[in-house]
Point group: C2
Chain length 210, copies 2
């Protein structure tokens, strides 16, 4: 039996990974705080070229961090995003909420003629004002959020718009970047994104460092 | 208020997405069953070039499908993988198990001098023989699995080796492909991978079609 030779120390693995990412990716467009978040997002997808597609509104990082420190809840469109949030990093034991599997969601979806991912957002209204929203899966959820805001609904403190895919993902993120109604945003332009990149961004916002 | 124009029907979104992926990606290396799985993995990461890195051992798809149909448990290295499995698609109400947050795991990690992700696998031994294993996050977990098998431990029916990252990910997947001890495998060569691609592969194995 051959012994496999690999690093077994979790912190050392993170440090080495982040060093490789900083060496190989072009982070020059970002502020130091934005770069920290981009590094974790790249780490989550294994592609340094993801840096080209990550974009922040100028006020996003301070707005999201302030909201989290003040105890804002985090609303997620997908269970995978919610389960990717490292609870120990959260600054105020923030609630992490996903209503996709709420028993009311299918009925709302049928009534509104949309996906369950989009319909689930209707159950966020009570606590959506000032919350942090993380859309990491469904373009329809991001479009629905923009429609709720445009219709005069509650405004989150910050929106992570990182749905992945081939139908509507690029368009929904472009819509967020151009028509967020003044809400600070983070997007990954184009098709890339997903629950892992979204959770990684949340974990980077929640606490600086490894 | 402008109305956003987008597809709101979940099944139509899947169908259109999969059609785009089949049009744009080179799936010619794959059997039809392998291609179905690759399409879902590409869907999960938003990159058609992922097709270049996906590789199956010849016996992987039939072995994994037979195990699932016979009720094999699915062992996952990360909560995100476990929560990405669509339970309604599973053919035998299969158990989906992640022991990362088991209270015994930190002590095992300290004793073995490895990560919690790797140590968590020690708690799989009782039901690992004939199981389906999905490693979607930690290279150390995949290395540890190979060490357990090489040491004469129980053999899974099939291994999805899809950890992501910059330290050990490529190496651990290469090790699986060359030294699996006869266990059928699926890998994504290089740095790409992650919980979403891994869960997508499981969902594709669990049931054919959308």
């Amino acid at each position: 039996m051959l012994e496999h030779d690999y690093i077994r120390d979790g912190t050392a693995i993170y440090e080495r990974s982040f060093a490789i990412i900083r060496e190989e990716s072009d982070l020059s467009r970002f502020t130091p705080d934005q770069a920290d978040i981009a590094v974790r997002m790249i780490h989550a997808c294994g592609r340094v070229d993801a840096a080209e597609f990550i974009e922040f509104s100028e006020d996003f990082v301070p707005a999201a961090r302030e909201a989290l420190q003040n105890g804002a809840p985090i609303f997620c469109d997908a269970q995978m995003v919610a389960h990717g949030v490292t609870r120990a990093r959260l600054p105020a034991d923030n609630d992490v909420i996903c209503t996709l599997r709420d028993e009311r969601t299918p009925e709302i979806a049928a009534k509104l003629g949309t996906t369950r991912s989009a319909a689930a957002l209707e159950l966020w209204r009570d606590r959506l004002e000032g919350a942090v929203v993380a859309i990491g899966n469904a373009p329809t959820a991001l479009f629905h959020l923009l429609e709720m805001i445009e219709a005069g609904g509650p405004k989150p403190a910050a929106i992570l718009g990182v749905p992945v895919g081939f139908v509507g993902a690029a368009e929904s993120k472009e819509a967020l970047a151009t028509r967020s109604g003044g809400v600070p945003w983070l997007i990954v332009r184009g098709r890339m994104g997903g629950s892992a990149m979204t959770a990684a961004a949340l974990n980077a916002l929640a606490r600086k460092g490894i």
